[in-house]
Structures are given as C-alpha cells and as structure tokens.
C-alpha cells in the first residue's frame, strides 16, 4: 500500500482552480518532489497534505486512512517552511524539542533525543543560541532537526533551500539526501527549481496549471519529457516545429520546418499529419568547423550568433541557414571540443538522430 495517496483532489479559489483533479501515490521511504512554476498549484497541494487547506473534493489517504479533514496538529506529518519558521523566543534546544513536548514525551527522553537530533545536524555547539544568532544554513538545519525529531510519517518541505546562496544550497542538497537515507522518512519536497528537483529526488511530479503533467525519475523526466511544457520547463532544450509526414511500424518520418526530413522510431498514438516539436538537448548538439562538412551526416550549416562562456561549458547560439536558432552546449575541458568559435564563424551543426524526440501537440 502506498504511504500517501491522493485521489482526484480538487481545490478551487473562486473561479481559479488551483489543484485540478490530481491523483498520485507516494511510497514509504521515497524522496518525492513536486516541481512546477509559481502558481502551478504545488504549494496548495502541499498545504492540503499538511492539513492547512482542505480539498473541495477528492481524498487524501495516509496509510489508507482518509485524512482530508484531520487538522494539521493531529497528522503525523511535519513541514519545513520556506522561511524556516523557527520560534524566535526559543533557543535552538527548545525549538527542536517542541514537537516532542507537544506529544508529551518524558523530559529525560526529550533531552536525549534533542541532543541526538542536534548532533546529527552538527549543531551541538549551538544548543543554547537563539535563532537570530544563527546563519541561514544553521537555521535551515535546526528546521530539519525540528521537523524530523518526532519521526513523522512524512516530512514536507516548501522550497526550504530557496533562501540560501548557491554554494550553500549545493552543500545542503547533499546533506539532505544523506539525511533522508539515514532517517528513512518519506520526504515530499516542493520547488520551482528544476536543478534542485533533478539533484534531490527519486521521483518528480511536474505540475502545471493545477495538473500533474508527468511523474517519473529525474532521468526519465529530463531524458524523455512527456510534452512540450515539460521539455521546455526542465533544463534547456531546442524545440523545432515539425509535422509527421509518414508513419509505419518501424519508422516515423517527420518534416522539420526549414530543415528537411528526419526519421525517428515510431511512437504510439501518432498519425501522419500530426503537428508537434522536435526536441533536442543542447548538450546533444555537436558543432564543427565548416571544413569537415562532407564527413558528417545530417549536418546543417549556419553561423555563430552569440555565445555564453561560463567556465566549464560554453553555450553557443547558432543561426542555421534556414533562420532557425539552435543552442549547443560544449564542454570546455574535452580536448576535441576545446576550440572556441567566435561570433559570425561559419559552423556545421549536427546531432545524433536518435537523440531527438518528437513531442506531439495535443489539443
């Protein structure tokens, strides 16, 4: 049985449907992420799981029990808030011990568990400090310790790393993964940052306009996006309008606007005449100097329009002869690719045919 199951959950605010018929199930021990742009309904969904909001219809089952109308304080679900929400008038020790006091654990036991919890997040030296005396990362760890100390069935996290700077965020991501492995508690993480979602999660649900667009592992979401929205939202991608001209049991022939035809393995439920996009990740696109044209299959000529050098990689924007712009990501360290193109350099662009995907537009 799934630990948490949402069945046809709907939540409306006036005319606006924040969560539109969402169903999903989360297994015990999972690190699950709700990913989506702001306003996609992920926070509303989280608030309903925590109990701060009640669905207009649908069920929220925890261990098979419907908890949709159970108040937050009665749910074995704790939340780490975006702003940490540490109690400013309590010391670190009192903050962390708070959930245990609420469930009337014996004082000696509270002290023991509080000390252990603070040790786990390397904050033993800060027991008697107040939250305002801590750095952002330390507050973050107190918030995690407080959320985990009473062994909830589920720990919800609402963009908890949003307020940290990039370097610290990466450290915290690693710590979070380890922490989750150690405690074995199911985590539901909410974020609008696809990097964070890909780095942390075992499974991701991508949300848009109150719906779940795709659920899958990070590599499935990144590698085989279900539709144009996900392809565009997760990472960088080149999207080229295309149309299916022919389809058989073994091959699907597509006409890409201005780039001629390409042949891909057939996909289900696609018919000749369907419109859509060909999606290709920038790191799959190869860029060559003009001279080698003859040796490269499926090559397109163009010139460098712009590039962005960020140290480890360079992103080139290349305008093909047909006017289509393609982004290519080249690693700077790789010996064969160490060459930098300049703006206006004529180049040849190609990609392995099997790396491209056709995403059909569904009305």
């Amino acid at each position: 049985m799934a630990l948490l199951e949402l069945r046809n959950v709907i939540r409306r605010f006036g005319d606006f449907t924040a969560v539109d018929n969402v169903s999903l199930s989360i297994q015990a021990g999972e690190f699950f992420t709700l990913l989506g742009p702001s306003g996609c309904g992920k926070t509303t969904l989280l608030r309903m799981i925590a109990g701060f909001d009640v669905p207009d219809s649908g069920q929220i089952l925890l261990d098979g029990q419907d908890i949709a109308n159970t108040p937050p304080e009665k749910r074995p679900i704790h939340t780490v808030f975006q702003s940490y929400a540490l109690f400013p008038h309590m010391t670190v020790a009192d903050n962390v011990a708070f959930p245990l006091k609420m469930s009337k654990v014996a004082p000696a036991e509270i002290k023991k568990r509080m000390e252990k919890a603070l040790e786990e997040v390397q904050l033993s030296r800060f027991t008697h400090r107040f939250p305002h005396e801590l750095s952002g990362g330390q507050k973050q760890r107190v918030a995690f310790a407080r959320g985990l100390i009473n062994r909830p069935r589920l720990l919800l996290m609402d963009e908890p790393l949003g307020a940290l700077d990039a370097k610290l965020r990466e450290d915290m991501q690693r710590e979070l993964i380890n922490l989750q492995k150690e405690v074995g508690i199911t985590f539901i993480f909410v974020t609008h940052s696809q990097d964070e979602a890909l780095a942390l999660s075992q499974r991701i649900a991508v949300m848009n306009l109150g719906n779940i667009e795709q659920i899958g592992t990070p590599s499935a979401i990144y590698g085989t996006p279900a539709n144009r929205f996900i392809a565009d939202f997760i990472g960088k991608i080149n999207l080229m309008e295309a149309r299916v001209t022919q389809i058989s049991n073994t091959a699907m022939t597509l006409e890409i606007n201005g780039l001629g035809t390409t042949v891909l393995p057939p996909k289900k439920e696609i018919q000749a005449g369907d419109q859509g996009v060909i999606a290709i990740r920038p790191e799959q696109v190869a860029v060559h100097a003009l001279a080698k044209q003859a040796e490269i299959p499926h090559a397109h000529t163009g010139k460098v329009l712009d590039f962005l050098y960020v140290g480890d990689v360079t992103t080139y924007v290349i305008e093909l002869d047909s006017g289509i712009q393609i982004e290519a990501l080249l690693a700077n360290s790789s010996p064969g690719r160490a060459r930098f193109f300049e703006v206006d350099d004529p180049v040849i662009v190609s990609w392995p045919q099997e790396a491209a995907q056709f995403l059909v537009d569904r009305p």
Binding site: F52, P71, P72, E73, T79, H89, F98
Partner: protein
C-alpha cells in the same frame, strides 16, 4: 558627518532642555519643600527665624526639618493608602490586560484595510473630555439609571440585596479601566501585529493545539507589549485622583487624593511633597521593573 551630528544636536536640544528644566526644577522644588515646615495659612514657613514681636511669640517653625517624613512613617494609615492604591492599580492593569488582549489580537488579525479604522475607534473616546466621560459614568452607575435598575432587578430575581454601584471601589475600577483601556490596547496591538503568522502554522504543524499555540507562541512573543501596556496603565492609575474623587466613596481615597488634599485642603505643602516623593519613588521602582521586563530578548 560632524556637521550632521551637530544638526542632530541642535534639533534635539530644545525639547531636551524643555523636559529637563520642567522636570528637574519642579522636582527640586518638591524635594526642598518636603524638608520644610508648613506655613500657618498654607504655603511654607520661612527658612530663617522671622523677626517677631514679643506679642506674637516665636513659633519655632522655621528652617529645615524631617517632620513630614516622620509624620509619614509614624502612621500606618499612609502605608495602607499606598497599599490600597497599589491594589487598585494592579487590579485595573490586570482587568485592562484581559480585556485588551482579545481586542488587540482581533485588530492585528484583521485585514490591513480595516486596522486603521479599528484603531481610530479605540482612541475615539479621547475625542471627548476626560471629566465629562467620568461624569457620564456617574450617571450610568447612579441609583436611578436604567443600568442600575436592570442590575438590581436581576440581583433581586436571584434573591440578592440590591446594590449601590456608585461611590464604591467597583465604580472606581470601572472608571480606571474605562479610561486606560486604550493605553493597553495600543502597545499590545503594535506588538501582535508584528508576529509572523507562519509561526502559528509551524506550531500547529508540529502538534500544538489552539491553547498551546497561544501560550507557547503568541503570549511569550507579546510580553514586551504586555509590559509596556501595563506600565502605561499602572503608573497613571497609581497617582490618579479625579476618578476616585468623582466615582469613589468616602473610603476610596488613593494616594492621588491624599496628595491633592494636602495642597488644596489641609494646606500642608511639605507633607504633600513628601507623599509625592514617595509616590515617585514607587513609580520609579515599578517603571524600572517594567523596563527590565519589557526589554525584548529577541531583537527584530
């Protein structure tokens, strides 16, 4: 930078001098007065021996003396009046606190656009004169008022004797609470408004029920507001004389009334000054305590 500092000094100098002079000089006059003899017809006896004719004789009442202090400490009556004033002030403060807290919370939790209107309503009574409002209570609590009739008919229905509400300690409390309630609501509201509502969500999420959320999260954070509101009620009530004069009975004399009597009634200025100094010391102690307690432990 230096020029800036000079400007700041120049701007704050006049009010500082004003406060200093008009606090320090009267206080000094009061302290000196408390060590002198009263004059025969009010005022003060001369400092030096007067040139008297033999017929008038020498009263010997001149120079400096501890007579007034001796008088204060020799009679337990004055300690009792002080104690009674403290009891009235404490009771008023507690009643104000209990009544003001829910109001302040309600205002702080209302939509922003209504808050200013509600604050305006709280301070609206100040628009009419203080004495008029107290005399209004005299009528409301008086034996012939509809309110009195109603209370007494209810009491009689349950088999109790009818009561006279006016000229009683009850009336004094009604007056003090009524007048000082806004002074409790405003600092409490100012404090409660700053609380981060997500902390209550966090407490609830971690298992705290309504009661625990209030006592463990809202109340401790509001203590600075509680103490500053309490100081604003306690201190004026302690020295108040108008409300007990108008609403209280003959037995409801507080320090304020006693002091007023020394200057306007018995014309014993030195004793009046002594009482004032004692009151001031008491107030200073209480203020000091409140300031200490009101100091926020957590800087925002």
């Amino acid at each position: 930078m230096n020029k800036f500092r000079l400007t700041r000094w120049l701007i704050s100098l006049p009010p500082t001098l004003f406060l200093l002079i008009f606090f320090a000089v009267p206080s000094l006059i009061m302290i000196v007065t408390s060590f002198r003899f009263p004059g025969e017809y009010g005022g003060l006896a001369p400092l030096t021996a007067p040139e008297t004719t033999a017929a008038e004789g020498d009263s010997g009442l001149y120079g400096m003396t501890l007579e007034a202090y001796h008088f204060f400490f020799s009679d337990i009556l004055y300690a009792e009046i002080f104690l009674k004033s403290f009891v009235v002030a404490t009771t008023s403060t507690l009643i104000c606190l209990i009544m003001a807290y829910p109001v302040a919370m309600l205002i702080a939790q209302s939509a922003k656009k209504y808050r200013n209107l509600m604050i305006l309503l709280v301070v609206l009574p100040f628009a009419s004169n203080f004495l008029i409002r107290i005399y209004a209570w005299m009528i409301i609590l008086g034996p012939e008022s509809a309110f009195s009739h109603f209370i007494n008919s209810v009491l009689q229905a349950f088999g109790f004797e009818p009561v006279m509400m006016l000229f009683s300690p009850f009336a004094v409390l009604v007056g003090t609470v009524y007048v000082h309630l806004p002074f409790m609501i405003l600092p409490l509201y100012t404090n409660l408004e700053k609380h981060d509502p997500v902390l209550l969500d966090a407490a609830q999420d971690l298992g705290a029920n309504r009661w625990q959320r209030f006592w463990l999260v809202t109340w401790p954070q509001s203590l600075p507001g509680v103490f500053s509101g309490s100081a604003l009620v306690f201190i004026p009530v302690l020295g108040m004389f108008a409300i007990p004069d108008i609403l209280g009975g003959t037995g409801d004399i507080l320090i304020g009334n006693l002091i007023k009597d020394q200057f306007l009634g018995t014309r014993d200025w030195p004793f009046g000054s002594t009482l004032s100094i004692m009151l001031m010391l008491a107030v200073l102690c209480v203020t000091g305590l409140f300031t200490l307690l009101a100091r926020p432990r957590v800087p925002r």
